[in-house]
């Protein structure tokens, strides 16, 4: 019986519902752009690692901060967003039926607007007119059209989001009184979170940065712009994380041949993410003046609350693992672990992501710890941190999703060959990340700054130690970066293989059956007006007074500084 649910052949013969072909096309369009951005972003990352280690110098037509901007934008924004929409469109078609032609057209409109925005931003990065990094902090100033590109990106994502919401609520209308499929519920939580989060960046870009960059206003309120950015910037990380959690809750139980531990707890975790991921942006601004200690502390407390749904997720997922392992005959305290499909990349890649989330989450708690933030703020520690969270937990889960999502969409087989490639890819990614992120964390504690080109600070001894340690060395980061690049190229090949080369056939889109307790899930979870209402109240509580203060007691503003980036 061991691992019986996992044999590739079993999977292929056990097809339930599929993604409608026309929806698959829309989903695949996102996948093409996601993986193209992934490859270019990975090349930029490799170059950064080698430059910082002092191993290569960039040609003079290519700036370090230019490739740093490209790396951040392409991987953190473009790859993630496109992959997420590919996954959600496909999943909603699989679990709620095909999109109507009208809605699908709206989905294509979202894709088009998103892509025009992406191309516009990409062109300006290539022209070195937008080397402001993906946080684009004022008063550094990019070409005005760069902000137009960002606006289109957000608008496109909203249109795509509206498509998903429309499909969900259409389903609900047609199935009055029924419990919505978990995939749809989680999609709605993710999209609502994204829309509320983007309000901050919409106000920032439309009301502050575009008029200022085009010269319609002379000055910008810098502190307000940073606050609006982080109002958006923190929930952004949950926009990356929640789709990974969807796969953990909805697809992984099926892949390991089990059932989700609890439906109501899964829904509750997503509601808590929606409520508590937004009113917490100040924990990114703990080290700056103009925000009082009290408001920083209040948002720090709210930041810690958002750890609770992650603890719940950890319990649910490992509960599912144990239940499944025991149902397959596993006994003892840990022996059931043997019953899990360790050799199946569709399980193993996300599982590696889950394991990495333990140190990643612990690091996050350190970062958010108020005065302790001074030790690590803007050091390489932070870069090490988010290469574990988004760069490992989220990405490894997305890779794990790819192994069934792409062949499912392209009508090809998930083959043992692909599985082996995937296993090697996962190990390489984890090993590369151990060296790169591990060294980043430790060098960060020694004071090495993030977002900084190669420098020895005129051979100052405090800076030279970053080049001299056995492990705490920029060279370790570069070695990790090279291993990661090899893993990234492998992943790109896997994408090519799954899209065009794998044998034709069927691969299942795994969706777990409802949990045992699903029928008892309280109705209140479906009351979106209530949750959105509470989210708004929390946001108003956390932000009204500090933002009022920033506007009313603002110092004179800042002019544009576009010459500093060229």
């Amino acid at each position: 019986m061991r691992n019986s649910a996992l044999k590739v052949e079993d999977y292929n013969s056990n097809i339930g519902t599929t993604v409608a072909p026309k929806d698959a096309k829309l989903s695949m369009a996102h996948i093409y752009i996601a993986f193209s951005a992934f490859l270019v972003g990975a090349i930029a990352g490799l170059l950064q690692g080698l430059v910082r280690g002092g191993m290569i110098e960039l040609p003079n037509w290519l700036g370090y901060y230019q490739i740093l901007t490209a790396h951040g934008v392409l991987l953190a924004l473009v790859f993630t967003t496109y992959f997420i929409f590919a996954f959600l469109f496909a999943g909603m078609s699989r679990t709620h039926g095909a999109f109507s032609d009208r809605l699908r057209k709206l989905g294509w409109t979202g894709f088009t607007v998103l892509t025009i925005g992406t191309l516009l931003a990409a062109i300006l990065i290539i022209l070195n007119e937008a080397s402001v990094l993906y946080t684009f902090y004022a008063p550094l100033t990019a070409h005005p059209l760069y902000y137009v590109g960002l606006t289109l990106f957000v608008v496109g994502s909203w249109i795509s989001g509206a498509t998903l919401l429309g499909h969900y609520f259409g389903w609900k209308k047609a199935h009055k009184g029924e419990r919505t499929p978990l995939f749809g519920y989680m999609t709605v939580a993710t999209i609502v979170l994204w829309i509320i989060a983007c309000l901050g960046v919409a106000v920032l870009v439309l009301l502050q940065m575009i008029p200022w960059a085009f010269g319609l206003t002379d000055e910008i309120n810098v502190l307000l712009s940073r606050t609006l950015f982080w109002y958006f910037g923190h929930p952004l990380v949950y926009f990356w994380l929640l789709p990974a959690y969807i796969a953990w809750y909805v697809s992984i139980p099926k892949i390991i041949g089990g059932k989700l531990f609890s439906d109501s707890l899964a829904r509750m975790a997503f509601v808590l993410f929606l409520l508590f991921s937004i009113p917490v942006g100040f924990h990114h601004q703990l080290m700056e003046s103009g925000i009082s200690e009290m408001w920083k502390f209040i948002q720090t407390v709210l930041t810690f609350v958002v750890i609770v749904p992650s603890l719940m997720t950890a319990f649910s997922i490992f509960g599912t693992f144990e239940q499944t392992g025991r149902a397959k005959g596993g006994t003892g305290i840990l022996y059931w672990l043997h019953k899990l499909p360790w050799k199946d990349v569709r399980f193993f890649a996300p599982f590696m992501g889950m394991i990495i989330f333990i140190p990643a989450g612990a690091g996050g708690i350190i970062n958010a710890s108020f005065q302790m933030n001074a030790v690590i703020h803007n050091t390489l520690w932070v870069v090490g941190h988010f290469h574990l969270t988004v760069g490992s937990t989220v990405l490894l889960t997305f890779f794990g999703i790819s192994y069934w999502l792409i062949p499912h969409l392209t009508g090809r087989k998930f083959t043992p060959f692909l599985n082996r490639l995937g296993m090697v890819q996962t190990w390489l990614w984890a090993i590369g990340m151990f060296f790169m992120s591990g060294a980043m964390h430790l060098i960060g504690l020694l004071g090495a700054p993030r977002r900084t080109a190669y420098t020895t600070y005129q051979n100052h001894p405090d800076a030279l130690v970053w080049f001299e340690g056995i492990f705490t060395n920029y060279v370790t980061i570069a070695i990790g970066g090279v291993i990661l690049f090899v893993a990234a190229v492998m992943m790109f090949y896997n994408f090519i293989y799954m899209t065009w080369l794998a044998p034709k056939g069927d691969t299942e889109f795994p969706i777990s059956e409802p949990a045992e307790d699903a029928s008892e899930t309280p109705k209140v979870f479906e009351n979106w007006k209530l949750w959105i209402g509470i989210a708004i109240v929390l946001i108003l509580f956390a932000y009204t007074i500090p933002i009022y203060d920033m506007i009313v007691n603002a110092p004179p503003g800042s002019p544009t500084f576009d010459f500093l980036i060229k």
């Binding site: 550094l140 810098v222 200690e293 502390f297 004179p556 002019p559 500084f561």
Partner: protein, 156 residues
């Protein structure tokens, strides 16, 4: 809605730990004054040199062992870019920016804060060991960001 007994134990343990963490942070902040740098004073970022204390950037002695250092951060240096104090001195750094966002960071100390234009930020540090201390900017501020540094010489 049913919570499994183990989940109750797990969440109680988890939430309990978070409460302890937050209490430690809160007590050390509000009872012992270990607050993150959150200075509220403001300046006109386009005319920082017009008003005190940045009309005379540099070091000022306050009493026998305490100094105030008024420093302007700018792309891609600090003014002044070298100060010297005797070992055992406590230095209060008052820093603002005359252009974009910078930081004022002394590796291996807890002095590490953002310098946003329009605002003055500050931190205090007692230098108990002699030597040359590096100050660097760890917020990207333009093409020459990695050249932005100053030194603090702590002498016997």
């Amino acid at each position: 809605m049913h919570l499994h007994r183990y989940e109750k134990i797990w969440l109680t343990f988890g939430i309990g730990s978070l409460v302890i963490f937050l209490t430690v942070l809160g007590v050390s902040a509000f009872a012992f004054g270990q607050q993150p740098p959150s200075h509220m004073a403001k300046v006109d970022p386009q005319n920082v040199r017009d008003a005190a204390p940045f009309d005379e950037p540099g070091l000022r002695q306050i009493n026998e062992t305490t100094y105030q250092a008024n420093i302007i951060a700018m792309a891609f240096t600090y003014q002044p870019n070298k100060i010297e104090v005797p070992v055992g001195s406590t230095v209060r750094f008052h820093v603002t920016s005359s252009d974009v966002v910078h930081s004022f960071t002394i590796p291996n100390t807890n002095v590490n804060f953002m310098v946003t234009p329009g605002h003055i930020n500050m931190a205090e540090h007692t230098f108990t060991e002699a030597g040359s201390y590096l100050v660097l900017c760890n917020e990207y501020c333009g093409t020459g960001h990695h050249y932005m540094q100053m030194t603090i010489e702590v002498v016997e």
